[in-house]
Amino acid sequence: MTDLTKLTAAELAGKIHAREVSSVEVTQAHLDRIAEVDSFVHAFLHVDADGALAAARAVDDAVGRGDAPASAIAGVPLALKDVLTTKGIPTTCGSRTLEGWIPPYDATVTRKLREAGVPILGKTNMDEFAMGSSTENSAFGVTRNPWDDTRIPGGSGGGSAASIAAFEAPLAIGTDTGGSIRQPGAVTGTVGVKPTYGGVSRYGLVAFSSSLDQAGPCARTVLDAALLHEVIAGHDRMDSTSIDAPVPAVVAAAREGLRGDLTGMKVGVVKEFGGDGYQPGVQRSFEAAVAQLRALGAEVVEVSCPNFTYALPAYYLIAPSECSSNLARFDAMRYGLRVSDDGAHSAEEVMSLTREEGFGAEVKRRIMLGTYALSSGYYDAYYGSAQKVRTLIRRDFDAAFEKVDVLVSPTTPTTAFKIGERVDDPMAMYLADLCTIPANLAGNAAMSVPSGLSDEDGLPVGLQIMAPALADDRLYRVGAAFEAAREPVLDRVPDLTRGGFVPAGALSPAEAAK
């Protein structure tokens, strides 16, 4: 029998809807895989086998009755990042503060998944409140990169990316504030998409930086990501920043791209991203990717976005500022952790002691950084200046998109780094988001698609594609055409069932170049 965990979401949906296999069988196969490998991958914080199987049975019943499938991916199970609320299922955001909290409502993304007949396998590990680039900031332990157990799976959505790279789920949901979908995608050899800001509702997405946060799809193929994108996107009156416009036709664009012709497409290579400071193997993979796009018929030109080098510093003022305000809600009064409520401490003391105990170091650092940047006397120099940089980034994008249809760059400057390597050096950690941040600041759509393995360490490299706001479909057309022309990266991921991890990096350069 075919290993159901190795099939794409599109293939699984086809088989389920044709009654060749049941959603219960597919869901059970993934639950079995989780039971087999998650003790060392640790992608999941919570597995909801009963809920997933009940949802699968409902799909099988509907298919059996001859009903039209609730969606194109009805019956295909999914892993959900633990930052989106799930009614009756724990939601921790990777924080002690919310340990044991059971949300009384579903996020809009969760609701749409349920309505689309998508069984939710469980909740995935993440950096606490989505702050980080390695998932090491989770209060509940690290997630290991399925390519090498000594390396990080990216972050903040390391659990979601690792779950699909480890074949524990065919699909996952991530959230991307500065690269938290795309960078994990790049370092695990998977596809990750940050939709246009406002394209997917933020209702029930526990807020980190409200003007930047955006949920999106994680998958093993571009078409699978598109199928999931269309399920979760769309206007929502519960989110006043949700865009009231039709969802871009991303599935049609992916299918168009799979034909392998990019004639007429103009691709801009961002001059500022690459070269010094980039791992040579990443740079070489990127250059090969650009050559591939040209071979597919795209016209490739170099484009300068001079202010992109200011995106990282601007982001590390804006995001902490918004976070310092958003995380004020964790006050130990209405939900979540409360400590030292012994009658001897005042409400204010209980609040301070609880936040001290409930938050990890990175969250505290960012809250204090944001508090500083917003304080009178420093506001203009820091937060005010960062907002001006945001305008400049936007202008750079506007000017670039007058010349080209999409922009490309490496997704992140290096392959997956070692667990522990950057935990004591916040600025080194922040550099992982160097190339992904501009799209968040401007609200554009952006994707990371595997571009191959780095020749020096055999680890996955991502190609970032950026499109204007509301032109998400362009990402899918270019991404699918590129993917179809490359050898699938995940065919080379270690077989985790043979006694754990087989170290990556064992490939010869000739093998890696294949």
Partner: protein
């Protein structure tokens, strides 16, 4: 000259309601100084005449009909409370002895 002193970090922690330890103050002071040094780069290009952008999507007021819709029940709203009493959130004392 550091951008931020240990005393300033202690003040920030107080404003942010974080009862940080002495050891954390030492660590955070150095790290925040290092981060602020790097992010201060934004002032290089933030000229007077550039308007600020607070949000990626130009926002206007979003209105909806003022109609009653289902919300959480009292029981649901209190379900996650650290302490509840008589259908309300129970909180530690808010006023000090002298107030």
């Amino acid at each position: 000259m550091p951008k931020i002193s240990r005393d300033e970090v202690a003040h920030l922690a107080k404003l942010a309601r974080l009862a940080v330890t002495e050891h954390e103050l030492d660590v955070f002071a150095g790290q925040l100084d290092h981060i602020l040094d790097a992010v201060a780069k934004v002032s290089e290009v933030a000229a007077e005449d550039i308007p600020p952008t607070s949000h990626a999507v130009p926002l206007t007021n979003v209105f909806r009909e003022d109609v009653v819709r289902p919300g959480l029940t009292q029981q649901q709203a209190l379900a996650g409370a650290p302490a509840a009493e008589e259908g309300r959130f129970r909180v530690p004392r808010i006023l000090g002895e002298e107030q």
